[in-house]
Symmetry: C2
Subunit: 369 residues, 2 copies
Amino acid sequence: MANAADGMNYAPKGKPNPVVKEGEFPFAVIGLDHGHINGQCNGLLEAGATLTKVYDPDPAKVAAFIKSFPQAKAAESKAEILEDDAVKMVAAAAIPNQRGALGCEVMRHGKDYFTDKCPFTTLGQLEEAKKVIAETKQKYMVYFSERLHVESAMFAGELVHDKGAIGKVVQVIGLGPHRLGSGGRPDWFFNREEYGGILTDIGSHQLEQFLYYTGATDAKVLSSAIANYDNPDHPELDDWGQVTVVGDNGATGYHRVDWFTPDGLRSWGDGRLFLLGTEGYIELRKYVDPATETQGGDHVLLVDKKGEHRFQVNGQVGFRFFGELIKDCINRTEIAMTQAHAFKAAELCLQAQAQAVVVATDGGRPAAL
Amino acid sequence: MANAADGMNYAPKGKPNPVVKEGEFPFAVIGLDHGHINGQCNGLLEAGATLTKVYDPDPAKVAAFIKSFPQAKAAESKAEILEDDAVKMVAAAAIPNQRGALGCEVMRHGKDYFTDKCPFTTLGQLEEAKKVIAETKQKYMVYFSERLHVESAMFAGELVHDKGAIGKVVQVIGLGPHRLGSGGRPDWFFNREEYGGILTDIGSHQLEQFLYYTGATDAKVLSSAIANYDNPDHPELDDWGQVTVVGDNGATGYHRVDWFTPDGLRSWGDGRLFLLGTEGYIELRKYVDPATETQGGDHVLLVDKKGEHRFQVNGQVGFRFFGELIKDCINRTEIAMTQAHAFKAAELCLQAQAQAVVVATDGGRPAAL
């Protein structure tokens, strides 16, 4: 197994440097309902953006945010940020069903918008955002963190798209288990209208990856399903969901998301990605290689015609999305991600959620076949 | 004998654990079209059965078989075996679309039948076999080798059903990649009428596992799909297939099968099984732990509330199915497997194949969305 540790031929690129100078790309934050806002800000700051202001109706959330990001000044109101001409972008992690309206408001004030996933909870919100983009020419970008902020996932993109390491990608399988935790979740998390359903919410990471790795620009939901298998106290929570799609290029995707990460796992979730190609396959163990001595995440397993290859790429790839996004905002380009791609991923999730078969309710009551 | 790089001739050997004495359970073999017959015979012999005769119309296949199993006498004709009252069971690995008719003939001669999977290629064959069983009270058992002849799979059954290690099983995901190989496959392998389609064929292992691990006794196919992604020279070959099902207990299954094992993998296939439970999950790496130094197969990963646990169980579990089957035949019981279970698995595969959406043809031409 000499090649099990052979990463020499696939040397990943270094971390991207800041793409702008201090003050060149000021951004502000509105909406602190999801902790992902910290990751969004980290990514932008590492790429050189300048965080100026923060607003949330809850002063406690603002205080906690400023503790992590002391450069941010607490704004008196949302309007103070929206009307600040210096602010080029608003990053936001509002309650999911409020993200669409906030984004439209931000764009109508001449700023780009960078929201936590999921970007929308209804197809109507998506249509409204498309209209506002047509009017304003602003961007409605989405923090699909399970690819954009995971080095193994970024590396897999290089293997597939730049090196053709597995030939043509014919299928993506994504497993996205998450830890529910106990007591730490806000009420909206359990309210279907607010969180949008599991395929809308954490499923959005999955469909984005399907489109990205296969290169499909459109897709059709073949089948989707949701369940409440073990949470009778939260009947509106989908604790499990799956969707299978076929792309316009014939490639398929199967994606499962759930809230069943056991307490004994080191990580919040044993996220996996399997890319099946005509010339080989890739598996990502994104956050943990379970039940081994191996520490850390970002394990990339590649099997091709020549052998079995393994890489652990944390700290070696970086997160180029954020710098590319800043430059896209400045140059009005679409290098980091096209608007069409982000919205197609959103649309597929919403379709999958809307047409999902309910297989179990109220903590495991089987639906009739 | 067990050739780990070649699935067609993969014939595991276990510890002998005879349940009967020499001569107490004589069986014969008819039909040597698939190499699985070697595994079927190994399992029965290790459990104490006595192999008496073999018949195939091709003398070369018979000669090769007798080289491996010198105790078998070449019969002059199929009739010589069928009319031999001493023979209690006929083991067979005929061309798939001939398995049903052969089984009915065997049962009408007062013998039990033990066929390689897939047991049938059409629902009509299944119905006919049900009729003959009703008339004859004989058994039509199936060599679902990817569970019955895999120690990690047998061990997972103990973890789930005897120890309740992961609570209630809510989903099974099975990945069954296989190596196509070059030149070693007979013509029938590429002929749809004869092999039955990928979901009928290697998919049958998968649906059997879904029923077994979830405990469902009935299920509905939610969606299925097939493709010829990369084999334009064999347009009738499905080189990829998937199916998702929901059981009468609400548990779900997703199963992918394919012929894309790359040449660089040590094994004929990186078979995986993921069992998601309300209290934990299990992953099986059945034949290989890819891109690690670890040798051999039968890796069982269990994550529960207490931690992450790993077992490598090859040589430690054995294959109790075969001894149980022999005793079932003698005692007319159903300990090894019920007829209903075997036939439900077959029915689900045939339904999945019949209703499969074709997503790509002729080596990758996408079907219209």
